[in-house]
Each structure stands twice: as structure tokens, then as C-alpha cells.
């Protein structure tokens, strides 16, 4: 066992106190500011006294917070006046997630989240320890698990399972290139915050904006030019923010595999190291936008079962790469295959999409006709044409493939998404039929897994009812078969799975 960690009680990193003091500063300043504005000097003094009391409390908390790794458990003691002792058995610990934000990186400290199997929430947070120490904790847990495995199963561990291999990584240049191909609407949020926090600006502009009077002074052609300029501007802004967001998110990206876990490292200021259990893998999605398709690139995200209180359980496995690279990773690591050919859904689907778009655009024209000017009625013709065109695109993209291992669904308009759901991950299956679908003899097959995927892309819309039943039968048959096969696999390397 790791002798350095064992035995002695340890405290958090001393810079924790400084970090806490720095992060609480804005609150104290706000309190001072608020009390000052009431012109009550007494309250201001009280705030200062409170501040004077708060700072020593950091010292006390730091002094009385210790953690220790014994042979079998992690013991955390805390509390100044009332003592708190929390014991976490080592075999229950599934993973240690390490996270650093920008300030923590400057101070070389990190927060370590101890995740356990049964618990609904994170069992413990060590805030904050040095990065070096956090790595050692991780190694310690891993060593413990490996040793336990030796004792329990009395088998030689395959060297490969504990060894970490890099599956995919991106250089700074790769990240920049991938940024130039992505768009982000985050600038809207930035604008929102900007307008909210500058009151004098928002007051004047809000009144002007919402009254709509400023529109009346312009002729229709001027408004049209305005709309064109605004959309070009929005496109450029979303492109720039796409580059920034991608660079911040995927800087230093690497995908690694260590036994039955995959590790993703990424981030520029806020460094993320997340680790997902392959056992909990539920489905994969492949995405591409028109620019990416032009250069023959795709992106892969993976979804895992929502574990405990953690809702967000998807991670980008490959931000951008050539299809054959992604295919290789998908096959080797996640045991799924990205299909090339898709079966088309019923042609009636096109009509249904067309009617849906028509309703949307015609409602907009009707509102224009009633609220703005009579000549908005002319929007009817381009609306119908546009609906027809978009419906055609959407219909051609819609497709599905049911192989022996997984069901894949392709959908989207400009951004294509392929959802790959392995048969052995299916929880429940649904055949849904709306009134119109029944009139045309159609049905939608929904594939439900334990993944937290709310966009509803894991469903095959508008297939003939007989086909839907056939798909359901195939998936069910494979699900029973795969499930049994899969359970045997899991039984064989049950303990490796958790390392």
C-alpha cells in the first residue's frame, strides 16, 4: 500500500484559506455597499466586525478539518464546536473527480469530489487540496481496488486494464480549427447580462425597444435591409463566440482509457477531468454541421446513465475528427458502429413536416398581416416555397438503421445528428401513434435508455406501422440476446469494471 498516504491525518492545502477569503470578498464588499447606501454607520461597522469574525473562522475550520486514509476507509473529521466524523469505505468509492477553476489553478489547488456507488449525491468534497495530492488520492484508490481484486479473485490482472492509453488528443491548432467550424449563441446571454447590469443604458433602451415606435419611421425596404444586416451580424458574432467557446472548452483535449473507465481532460481556464464508466455507457451521438460535412469531419458525444444527483451525464468523446478516426474509437471503446446507410422513413413524413412548417410560417405571416401591414400577406408564397424546401431536406435526412448491435437514427435540418442506441441498453420501447399518424398508418418508435437525453432524438419518426412493429420485434429479440451475453461478460470482470 501507499505508505505516504496511509496513517497520518492530513489537512487541506493551506492556500484554501486564502482562496476562501478571496472568494468571499465580493460578498463583504456588497454588504458594505448596501449598508452604506442606507446611511447607517452602525450597520457598516457591524459588517466590518462580521468580516473580522469570518476570517478567523476560516483558520479554525482549516485547523479542525482533517482527512485520513486507513486500510479500509476514508475518514473525514470536521467541525469546530460540534464534531463531525464521516467514514466512507474505500470499496464504495467509485471515482475521484478533480476540478480546478482559473483562480485555483493560479494557487495550484484543486477540489476533489469523491463519488461513491450507492449514494444519491456526492459523498464528500475535499476543498481544496494540491493537485499533486489529488493525483495521489486517485492512485491510492486505484491501487486499493487492484489489490482487492487480487485478493478476491486471485487472478492476475491484465496489465492493460490498469494502464492508461491515450485514444484521442487535440493540439492547440486542432482546437482552433474546430472552433472555426462551430457556432455558438452564447453571445445572446452575454448581451442579456450586459443590458441587465448597466441600468441607465437598459432603462432608456428598453423603453425604446419595447414600444416599437422606432420601427415606424422606417420604410419596409429599410427594415428588410436592417434584418439582413442584423442576421449577418448575428452570424459573425455566433461564429466568433463559437471559436472562443470551443477554445475555452476543448483546449488541451484528450480522451484516455484506463481499464473500464474513460477519462476526458479539457479546458483552458477551468480545467475539467471527468471520468466515465464504460459500464454505464448508454448511447452515442454523432453530429456535424454543413461546414464540418464539407471538410468531412464529425463530432461524437457519449451519454451515460444519470448517476445519483448528477443530471449532466454526457461528455464529448471526440470534438472533431475524420469519420474513420471516430469510427475506430466508437468500435474499440464503446462497441458501437457508425452506420453509413440509412433506411428512409415513409414518404408521408415529408408531407407532415411540410404542413408543420407551413403552419409555423403562415402564422408568422398572419401576425405580420394583422400587426404590421397588409403587404405582409405576400409572405404566404415564399412561406410555402420555403416550407416545401425545408421539408424536403428534413425528410431526406431522416433515416434509421437497425443492425445486430444497435439501432441508429439520423435526424436534423442543417446540423445532422445520428443517435446510436445499443440494443442491450434499451430500458423500455414505445410505439406512439398520433391521430394523423393513425390516419396515414404511421407510427413513431421511441427508444428509451437510462441516458439523460431530453431532445427526443432517440426515436424513429413516421415509419409504417408494420415496419414499426418489425423494428420493435428485432430490437426486443436482440435486447434479450445481447442482455444475456452482456451479463456474462460483466460477471466475468465485475471487479475490474469499477476501477
Amino acid at each position: 500500500m501507499n505508505e505516504i498516504l496511509l496513517g497520518s491525518e492530513r489537512r487541506l492545502h493551506p492556500l484554501t484559506m486564502m482562496y476562501r477569503a478571496v472568494t468571499i470578498m465580493p460578498n463583504i464588499l456588497i454588504a458594505l455597499f448596501v449598508f452604506n447606501s442606507f446611511e447607517g454607520k452602525v450597520e457598516a461597522y457591524m459588517t466590518i466586525i462580521a468580516a473580522v469574525l469570518i476570517l478567523p473562522s476560516f483558520l479554525l475550520n482549516y485547523y479542525f478539518y482533517t482527512y485520513v486514509f486507513t486500510e479500509r476507509e476514508l475518514v473525514i473529521k470536521s467541525g469546530v464546536f460540534s464534531k463531525n466524523i464521516r467514514t466512507i469505505p474505500l470499496e464504495k468509492i467509485q471515482n475521484i473527480d478533480i476540478h480546478q477553476n482559473a483562480l485555483q489553478r493560479l494557487l495550484h489547488i484543486a477540489s476533489a469530489k469523491v463519488e461513491t456507488a450507492g449514494g444519491a449525491t456526492t459523498e464528500a468534497m475535499l476543498e481544496y487540496i494540491s493537485l499533486h495530492e489529488s493525483e495521489r488520492l486517485r492512485t491510492y484508490i486505484r491501487t486499493y481496488k487492484t489489490q482487492q481484486l487480487h485478493e478476491l479473485e486471485n487472478i492476475q490482472i491484465n496489465e492493460e486494464s490498469s494502464h492508461t492509453e491515450i485514444l484521442f488528443s487535440m493540439s492547440r491548432r486542432d482546437v482552433l480549427i474546430s472552433g472555426t467550424m462551430s457556432f455558438s449563441l452564447v453571445f445572446f446571454a452575454v448581451f442579456g447580462i450586459f443590458f441587465q447590469y448597466i441600468p441607465f443604458l437598459s432603462q432608456r433602451y428598453q423603453e425604446k425597444l419595447y414600444s416599437g415606435d422606432w420601427l415606424l419611421g422606417y420604410s419596409p425596404s429599410e427594415i428588410l435591409i436592417g434584418i439582413v444586416i442584423a442576421s449577418v451580424g448575428a452570424t459573425i458574432l455566433s461564429w466568433i463566440s463559437g471559436i472562443l467557446v470551443t477554445f475555452l472548452r476543448f483546449y488541451g483535449f484528450s480522451l484516455q482509457r484506463s481499464g473500464m473507465r474513460i477519462l476526458v481532460e479539457r479546458g483552458l481556464f477551468s480545467k475539467w477531468r471527468s471520468s466515465l464508466s464504460l459500464k454505464k455507457f448508454q448511447m452515442a451521438s454523432i453530429r456535424s454541421n454543413p461546414i464540418m460535412r464539407y471538410y468531412n469531419l464529425i463530432r461524437m458525444d457519449v451519454f451515460t446513465a444519470a448517476s445519483g444527483g448528477d443530471r449532466k451525464r454526457s461528455e464529448t468523446a471526440v470534438p472533431m475528427a475524420a469519420p474513420d478516426v471516430v469510427q475506430q474509437i466508437a468500435q474499440d471503446v464503446f462497441c458501437v458502429n457508425i452506420p453509413d446507410t440509412f433506411q428512409q422513413v415513409s414518404p408521408i413524413s415529408r408531407r407532415r413536416i411540410f404542413f408543420r412548417y407551413c403552419t409555423l410560417f403562415l402564422t408568422i405571416s398572419a401576425v405580420g398581416y394583422l400587426a404590421i401591414e397588409w403587404y405582409s400577406a405576400f409572405l404566404v408564397f415564399p412561406s410555402i416555397a420555403l416550407s416545401y424546401w425545408l421539408a424536403g431536406i428534413k425528410y431526406r435526412i431522416r433515416g434509421y438503421t437497425v443492425s445486430n448491435e444497435a439501432a441508429s437514427v439520423r435526424s436534423g435540418l442543417f446540423v445532422h445528428t445520428i443517435c446510436i442506441v445499443p440494443h442491450n441498453k434499451i430500458q423500455t420501447l414505445h410505439i406512439k401513434r398520433s391521430l394523423w399518424q393513425r390516419v396515414y398508418g404511421l407510427a413513431t418508435v421511441a427508444l428509451d435508455t437510462a441516458a439523460y437525453e431530453f431532445s427526443g432524438k432517440a426515436q424513429i419518426p413516421d415509419v409504417a406501422y408494420e415496419d414499426a412493429e418489425e423494428i420493435l420485434k428485432t430490437i426486443l429479440h436482440r435486447a434479450h440476446y445481447e442482455k444475456n451475453k452482456w451479463r456474462v461478460d460483466i460477471d466475468n470482470d465485475n471487479s475490474i469494471a469499477n476501477i
Binding site: 456507488a117 459500464k279 454505464k280 448508454q282 446513465a305 444519470a306 434499451i426 430500458q427 423500455t428 420501447l429 414505445h430 410505439i431 406512439k432 401513434r433 398520433s434 391521430l435 393513425r438 421511441a446 428509451d448 435508455t449 437510462a450 441516458a451 439523460y452 437525453e453 431530453f454 427526443g456 420493435l472 426486443l476 435486447a479 434479450h480 442482455k483 451479463r487 460483466i490
Partner: protein, 158 residues
Amino acid sequence: MHNLDPSVKTVWGFSAFFRTLMFTGIALTAEIFVRSYDSVSLPLFWGIPTVVFFFFMLLFQFSLIPLRYKFYSFDVRDRELWLRRGIVTTVETVAPFGRIQHIDVAQSLIERGVGLSRLIVHTAGQHGASIIVPGLPLEYAEQLRNHLKQFAHAVDDV
């Protein structure tokens, strides 16, 4: 596919009545709100619109019950539980036994009155994860639960 026990219609009748009362409450609030404006004068006496609403709603809710009963069916096959329901949008749900995590038998006050219960089958899924089979005689539901329980497994094997 099996139909539900016919006395489930009684249970649904009660809930239809309570639902109607709830909607009527909303309608009453709306009427009070509208009448509080002096500029708006409804031609009818106080409370008449709400009462009319109540009767129409009751008629509507009760007329749905036989339809709902007709479209509700379930089946316990070799390896799956099947459930079909819905009047306007019909949904057919299949839950393989291997995916069941745990099973509850629940009984509301009204259900207890007519000796019925609900079987609630939980899976690890995210959309429509719990499958509810209403209108089962308590004994049958418990038998079904014990039958299905042997296939259920630990939460860990997602």
C-alpha cells in the same frame, strides 16, 4: 392483450369528478377576475358561466371514461410486459423483464373501496420510465408483482 377490470371505470369516474371540480375552481377564479373589471359586463347572472362550464366539463370527462377503458390494455408475455393506452395519441409500451428495477403495488382510497390496485413497474429509463397498469384486483396485482420480481435486478446493472 387483457382488458382492465371494469370497476376501474368507477375509480376513473371519481377522479373525473375531482378533476372537473378543479377545473371549475379555475373557471370560477376566471369569472371573478373578469367581473372585477367594470368595463366588461357579462350578460349572464353571477355564477351561471361557471355552472355551465361545470356541467359541460363533467359531461366531457365522463364521456372519455368508456373510450379510455376501451383503449387501455396490457399483456404479460414470456419476457416482456406490454401496455397499450391513449385515446387521441396511442402509446404502446414494452418493458423487457430484464430491465425491471423494482415493482410497487399502490392503492388509493377510492381504489381500495372497489378492491382494485395499480401495478407500478420502475425501470432505469428516463422517458416514461415507470409503467403503470391500473385497475387490477389487489390479489392479481400482488401475484403479478411476485411473478415479475424474480426477473428484477439490482440498480447497479444499468
